[in-house]
Symmetry: C2
Subunit: 219 residues, 2 copies
């Protein structure tokens, strides 16, 4: 991102609301995914990772309250889009759940990291902190690689699944971008212009492709 326009007001609240709801949903989804775990040990690991998201949620909710905004109110605009995304991409098993976390969380984290660059302190650091804390993608990466090494046929099914996830995520992202004007303006201004937005998408896509290759999936 080319500059830090120091946004306050609507754009900051929209961003923090989105990240906060993302944490609450990440918690929810990891807790649900834990039920798909093939053994008690993995289930406990995932449950412990889920609990970390709540600590992050609390930090974001506290910051929103400081800014004079009810956290629930700031999160509400994202409920429908994220609900639809998750409803249309319900994992059927443990590996689909892991792939979803690996693909989706990583793209979301990359995006938020770019947007964080548009923020002033303390919000920039707050967003970077909560993103950094997410361990699920690393764990998922490790598990997916091991599963594909043990059964190479899995790569095809999981690659198709990953493509579907990206498609659904993009369609909900467009919806959010159209509805959250202040946030969209922040991203466009932060990247410079329309060409900057295109460059941002190119970076996100390249990083995604690299991650797919890293675990043995095809883009």
């Amino acid at each position: 991102m080319s500059e830090a326009p120091n946004p306050t007001g609507p754009a900051l609240v929209e961003l923090l609301g989105m990240v906060a709801y993302g944490e609450l949903l990440a918690f929810d989804r990891m807790a649900a995914d834990a039920r798909l775990a093939p053994d008690l040990h993995r289930r406990a690991v995932l449950s412990e990772m889920a609990a970390v998201e709540i600590v992050n949620y609390r930090r974001l909710a506290t910051r929103l309250t400081e800014l004079g905004v009810e956290p629930a109110e700031a999160m509400t605009p994202y409920v429908a889009a994220l609900h639809e995304y998750h409803d249309s991409t319900e994992p059927k098993d443990w590996l689909e759940a892991l792939t979803k976390a690996y693909v989706g969380d990583s793209i979301a984290d990359d995006f938020f990291r770019e947007v964080a660059a548009c923020l002033a302190e303390p919000d920039r650091q707050l967003v970077l902190d909560v993103l950094h804390d997410s361990q699920y993608a690393d764990y998922a990466c490790h598990e997916i690689r091991a599963a594909i090494a043990a059964d190479p046929k899995l790569a095809n099914r999981l690659s198709m699944w990953a493509r579907r996830l990206v498609g659904e995520a993009l369609s909900q992202a467009q919806r959010v971008a159209a509805e959250r004007v202040a946030l969209t303006v922040l991203v466009v201004e932060g990247t410079g212009d329309q060409a900057g937005v295109a460059a941002l998408f190119k970076r996100l896509t390249a990083a995604h492709t690299g991650r797919m290759t890293a675990v043995g999936l095809n883009n």
Copy 2:
């Protein structure tokens, strides 16, 4: 309980394994119940309470590891019984979820508190600490009372639901008692004899009846 026989070995591991699995399940169930919450604020509150259970789980798992036992191994014997209990008592809405937490968690906590009295330190304090930390029952009590005050007809449906919960819980508890011999011996020795066990059940029942009355439900 009449004495503290200072159990080590199988009974202690069986008890800590049961409490640890209880925490993991409480987390799981509260995370699932959060999805039934009527608004984002309540959903966040419940998610934050769920995360506390994981901190407790970690303490118990660490203690089991210290005792040379793999936590997953110590928890495994309780998976089937608790799974069946929860499967047969899936709440259909937010108030059923709250009632289940209020009724079930409170009876379980009372029982574990009695059994903790049979333990030596540091395990006695550990069990009491993790029980004390459970805030869901108090929260549920408050919400149920408010809901019944607003709509007294609810009391009948929730009273029937509570009776079903107790029935299912007792049938699974009998199964665990028959399978976990060391733990059952600990409870019988801790209470003194068969009459002591009967007195224990009487105390648990009396406390349950008191809690039902407190929120406006019939036993």
